[in-house]
């Protein structure tokens, strides 16, 4: 199946992602920010699809949009954030933030300008039909050790969260 209007969709989705990102930091209402973040995540999922990575796109939607963002919203609704909406939106560390942002921008620019040499362009070789199998083989084959380490890390994080949140266990 040949892709249709690839360029259009690429710019459309990237535009959505950037727009969502801007909205996240400019909205006063935390729920609106969270919704904008969801928009960004969905747009990124679309970009994954364009890269012939449907599995990653699906996981992105299930985990980030369906799971993590719902928990975000859950917490936002539980914790009274009326006060936060009235506070000054940009605090005194704006200078540090600007410097960090400028540094990041510089990095991106460098990658963009010199990237052609650092990461030579080549066509992705993943066959579309067996994308899931390829991901599985990589995760449970070549990178099994790293994968297990990551899962262990997550387990530790969960236990830590429980210990912090609960007064008595």
């Amino acid at each position: 199946m040949t892709p249709v209007a690839t360029t259009f969709f690429f710019y459309f989705l990237s535009g959505l992602a950037v727009l969502g990102g801007i909205l996240v930091i400019t909205r006063r209402n935390p729920v609106h920010s969270a919704l904008a973040l969801i928009l960004t995540l969905l747009a990124v999922a679309g970009l994954y699809l364009m890269l012939y990575a449907p599995f990653v796109a699906g996981v992105q939607i299930i985990l980030y949009v369906g799971g993590i963002m719902v928990l975000f919203l859950f917490v936002i609704m539980l914790v009274n954030l009326d006060r936060a909406a009235k506070e000054d939106q940009f605090n005194k560390q704006w200078l540090v933030g600007m410097i960090a942002a400028a540094a990041l921008l510089g990095l991106f620019m460098a990658v963009y300008l010199k990237g052609k040499y650092m990461f030579p362009i080549q066509e992705a070789q993943l066959p579309e039909q067996s994308n899931v199998q390829e991901v599985a083989l990589s995760l449970y084959g070549n990178y099994l050790f790293a994968f297990e380490i990551a899962s262990l890390l997550l387990l530790v994080a969960i236990i830590g969260a429980v210990v912090m949140a609960k007064k008595r266990i």
Partner: protein, 384 residues
Amino acid sequence: MTDPTTYLSHLELGQPDKTFLDSNELIINMGPQHPATHGVLRVILKLDGEKVLGTECVIGYLHRGVEKIAEHRTYTMFNPYVDRMDYVAAVSNGLGYCEAVEKILNVQAPPRANYIRVILAELNRLASHMLWLGTHALDIGAMTPLFYTFRDREEILKIFEKYCGARLTTHAFRIGGCQYETYEGFEDDVKKFLDFVPPKIDEYEELLTTNRIWVERTKGVGYISGDDCIALGVTGPVLRASGVKWDIRKAQPYAAYSDFDFEIPIGQNGDTYDRYIVRMEEMRQSLRIIRQAIERIPEGPIMAKIPKVIKPPVGEIYHSIEAPKGELGYFIVSDGSTQPYRVRVRPPSFVNLQALDLMVRGQLVADVIAVIGTLDIVLGEVDR
């Protein structure tokens, strides 16, 4: 409407658990328009998440001043008004009032009238318990029992209609006895009903008693101890489910109750499930009483000799009966005229409702609904 928060200020309420997330308390106004408060009860809840920290009942939305009306009516004219208090057990209200006036007149209703009274009052107890079961089950989420109980309650209402022409606010009795002789076929109708109902009660039990969700929703919910019941003046099935074996029909028999052989079902745990079991068993005991009464009903007059114009001597009287919801008492002060000087109704629902706060503290929102259902209140009687 006043801000709900002002209502709760005086109560010593619990504080929400301080956790990592420092959750806030939530004040919720349940009612007066709410599908599960059985009328116009307004309950203000203070919640920590879903946990109830405290409640306050705001009542009086249905206040009609029944006690004031009584002072401006003659004894006979006031009789129909009492039916409008606990409108699902109108016969019991009428029975209590008529007996109280008879007592202050110092007359006795003839035996046949007493038997008819017992039969109708017990049928009414069945009807009241059926209505309670249907709505209580609906509150907990089981829709179907509601329709089953209404189907069977209909049979009772048909008997009432044939006897006195009214279904709900019956005004079945008169001071001194009964107005009407039983209609032709009354005994057959009642006997048919006695055969018809037991399998239906088994049917309700089949739907609920061993239903896992029902048991989980009711066991251990809304616990109240027998001592607390007595201290709070809670009577009726709620008191009996907490293990206090007390029923005015046995303790101080009125009408013809001393002639019959029946048990007082009691529970041990004082939770919602036990109250359910006690009421189910009470329905069976009511059937037993009706069966004995219909078999032994004596012949004779149905009206005692009372004067045309009722003028009780100066004095006071308190008389109470076991209504389906608990002790229903009438305190009558007579000044020797044709109108009562003061009629005080001791409504069981009103006093029982006071226990709500104790029963739901520390439980969840869903339990508040279950407990309101299990208290079996009728707002017409709470507010009068």
